[in-house]
């Protein structure tokens, strides 16, 4: 329904004085067309393309004279991006800060992506960290997390968390719905659990202290998924500990459910439902050896149950 049609309805019912309706109609007619998000998207895609292009470029032309020039150029660009972001940095505050400059946030992302390429190449070509391979991901992780807090940037926070997960051996590419690691390896599962436990604990403490409480959403979205995936992996693959993982998974789902109700953020309720369902189904099909009848009935019953669960959120 167009704004003018809405205005007519309101006027017919005497809910809006003619004078005011006229003003609103006038504003609607002259309202400029906002290209805000379209332009931001183009800017973002440009940054992603530029940084991946430069990232690839680093590994080409090894022996040519131009190679050092390329490296130097990328380093200068990276430093320049950081410097620009710092120059227009928002004031520090533990709360939500609006960035003052339209480009500061984007320069920061560009700087971080280029830094990641450079540090990876430095290790690849010059082994700057020696055999301490973990530092290649740990150093950027720490840097990005610090920058995320200083600049109040949820994207950089996500980058830091991704690097942190890579540090414990988990590769995540959310757009491909890709999470790769050796979840048959006990040590990886426990590292992932320890990391997600520590990070979520820290996030909870920071939220209670009122330091960037709006970051909690990102923490739970990124690291919460890691936690639940790792618990499922333990449930599937570490048979002797299966019962413990089942209990932990249930506990985690209950916590997500509690948080979803607390914050009225249904995404986490959905996560609890989906992961809980997968875990429960695994246990059901592994231990009860159901026939066709009970399998299909199980799907019917759990499906209905979960629909009721998800719809019940409204009634609070």
């Amino acid at each position: 329904m167009s704004p003018i049609e809405s205005l007519n309805h309101l006027r017919e019912r005497g809910l809006l004085p003619d004078e005011q309706a006229k003003i609103i109609a006038d504003i609607e007619a002259k309202r400029p067309f906002s290209l805000h998000w379209e332009l931001r998207s183009v800017l973002y895609i440009g940054i992603l393309l530029l940084s991946s292009g430069l990232g690839l470029l680093i590994y080409e032309n090894y022996d040519s004279l131009g190679h050092l020039t390329i490296l130097g150029g990328i380093s200068v660009l990276c430093a320049g991006a950081y410097a620009y972001a710092f120059r227009v940095r928002p004031p520090w505050s533990p709360g939500l800060v609006q960035s003052a400059s339209p480009f500061g946030d984007y320069a920061l992302v560009l700087g971080c992506l280029l830094f990641l390429s450079l540090i990876g190449y430095a290790q690849y070509e010059y082994t700057v960290f020696g055999t301490r391979y973990g530092l290649v991901t740990f150093v950027p992780a720490v840097l990005f997390l610090a920058l995320a807090y200083r600049f109040d940037h949820r994207g950089v926070l996500g980058m830091g968390l991704t690097a942190l997960m890579a540090w414990v051996g988990v590769t995540v590419r959310p757009l491909d719905l890709y999470i790769k690691t050796n979840f048959f390896d006990e040590r990886v599962i426990y590292s992932a659990l320890a990391l997600s436990g520590a990070v979520l604990g820290a996030a909870w403490l920071l939220q209670r202290r009122g330091i960037k409480p709006h970051f909690t959403f990102t923490y739970l979205l990124v690291v919460g998924n890691l936690l639940l995936v790792a618990l499922l992996a333990g449930l599937f693959n570490l048979e002797p500990m299966r019962f413990v993982f089942a209990v932990l998974l249930m506990g985690a789902c209950a916590l997500f459910d509690w948080y979803a109700r607390q914050e009225q953020s249904l995404l986490f309720g959905l996560m609890a439902a989906v992961y809980g369902f997968i875990g429960l189904s695994y246990l059901f099909f592994t231990y009860t050896n159901p026939g066709f009848y009970s399998s299909t009935f199980y799907l019917l019953a759990t499906g209905v149950g979960l629909v009721v669960y998800l719809l019940a959120y409204r009634r609070r």
């Binding site: 049609e5 809405s6 309805h9 019912r13 005011q20 609103i24 309202r31 400029p32 067309f33 906002s34 290209l35 805000h36 379209e38 332009l39 183009v42 440009g46 992603l48 393309l49 530029l50 940084s51 991946s52 292009g53 690839l56 470029l57 480009f103 992506l113 990641l116 390429s117 990876g120 301490r132 391979y133 973990g134 740990f138 949820r154 994207g155 996500g158 991704t162 890579a166 540090w167 414990v168 590419r173 757009l175 790769k180 050796n182 990886v188 990124v222 995404l267 309720g269 959905l270 439902a273 066709f292 299909t296 799907l299 019953a301 759990t302 499906g303 979960l306 629909v307 998800l310 719809l311």
Partner: protein, 397 residues
């Protein structure tokens, strides 16, 4: 005849408009309250994640129930008429269930009702297709599905069923034309003509609908427009036409399909269309201030550029990406600076309708994606997370 009360649907749109005006300070809070009183919306409120989840779990539950009943009457699959009847009956039961939900629980596109519409339509389409003789061609099967799906789309105004109707319509054309020897050559032109015609029909229908119906069908009609314009641009795109043509070509027995899709007829025409159609979209978007055309124009031009790069890779990928990236950053930055003041009716100030949360989340996901990709780019995986699993990551730090 509408499944949902179209007055309430209209009231809902009115309320959303009033909420927006109140956020912008154009109406007073008490005025908004009076509007809410005057235009009741008894529908159940829900949240996008609850809708998503309950859609999926409803499909699961219905699937489980269907399989359960099928087990009880085991032999029915062998009897075509009986099995078709069974699927029709399932569809009927689902429709009954759906209407009970709409009537008793005030459902309005909350997830479970969407799922029931989609599944009821799907089971009816299944029933019709089982009833058709086994020799029926695919294009015929798609074509007879169209009226069934369309009926559901018109009654419920549901966007997924509307999409299914549209998809079967195009699929019917697509597979139908391939029955003829000349069909493969004519296919791109026919698809262009059909999508243009359909777009014209949809616009005509829209302008003739009552105000309440325009709101009722807003999502479905807008989806239809998007699909028509995407099909039109794709059918004119050189890459799509050449590669699809290569895939659909009959390969003589005993020969392998050529690695590179062969050149198509009228290449110059398709190269022109590759750029012309998105350029027209972009022009329409900017002159008519239409977001759909702006977005499709931008995406189409990006696709056209990639098409050129695919057939004429003049530069290595790294340099190509670097240049395109720089170009995009430069364009966007200039436009953002230029539009600080509204000019020619455009502005950089976000409007109230902007999907801020959606944008923040896609931003988060895309930078995480870039991070994950960059970390794994090192040619040999010296640290954990590589192709050999993350086993090595537990040491050395």
């Amino acid at each position: 005849m509408r499944a949902y009360n179209s007055i309430h649907v209209q009231n809902r749109a009115l309320r959303q408009q009033a909420d927006r005006w109140q956020r912008e300070g154009l109406i007073q809070p008490d005025q908004r309250e009076a509007i809410r009183q005057a235009f009741p919306v008894p529908f159940r409120e829900s949240n996008v994640f609850a809708e998503l989840g309950s859609f999926v779990f409803t499909v699961l539950a219905v699937g489980g129930a269907y399989a359960f009943v099928l087990l009880l009457i085991n032999g029915i699959i062998d009897n075509k008429a009986a099995f078709a009847g069974f699927n029709g009956l399932v569809s009927l039961v689902l429709v009954f269930l759906l209407h009970t939900f709409i009537r008793e629980a005030q459902f309005y596109r909350n997830g479970p009702d969407n799922a029931l519409v989609v599944m009821a339509a799907s089971f009816l389409v299944t029933a019709v297709n089982i009833a058709l003789p086994d020799s029926a061609a695919l294009w015929l099967r798609c074509l007879v599905s169209v009226p069934v799906l369309l009926a559901f789309a018109i009654y419920y105004g549901e966007v997924i069923v509307a999409f299914m109707a549209l998809a079967s319509f195009f699929a019917s054309f697509f597979t139908g034309f391939l029955e003829f020897d000349w069909g493969r050559m004519a296919l791109p032109f026919m698809l262009m003509v059909v999508s243009l015609l359909l777009k014209w029909v949809l616009n005509n229908v829209q302008s003739r609908l009552t105000e309440a119906d325009q709101t009722y069908f807003a999502d479905a009609l807008s989806m239809g427009e998007w699909v028509c314009l995407i099909v039109l641009a794709a059918a004119g795109n050189y890459f799509v036409v050449r590669e699809l043509n290569g895939l659909l070509a009959d390969v003589p027995a005993g020969q392998a399909r050529p690695e590179v899709a062969p050149q198509i007829a009228l290449p110059a025409l398709f190269w022109v269309l590759t750029f012309l159609i998105p350029a027209i979209y972009a022009y329409l978007g900017l002159t008519r201030k239409n977001r759909m055309y702006v977005i499709l124009g931008a995406l189409g031009l990006a696709g056209a550029t990639s098409t050129v790069r695919y057939y004429f890779p003049l530069l290595p990928l790294s340099i190509h990406l670097t240049l395109i990236g720089t170009l995009l950053i430069g364009t966007a930055a200039m436009a953002i600076r230029y539009l600080r003041q509204p000019r020619f009716g455009f502005t950089d100030v976000p409007d109230g309708e902007s999907p801020r949360q959606f944008f923040l989340n896609s931003e988060l996901l895309s930078v995480m994606q870039a991070t994950g990709t960059t970390i794994n780019r090192q040619p040999d995986m010296k640290f954990g997370g590589g192709d050999f699993g993350g086993g090595g990551a537990g040491r050395d730090y």
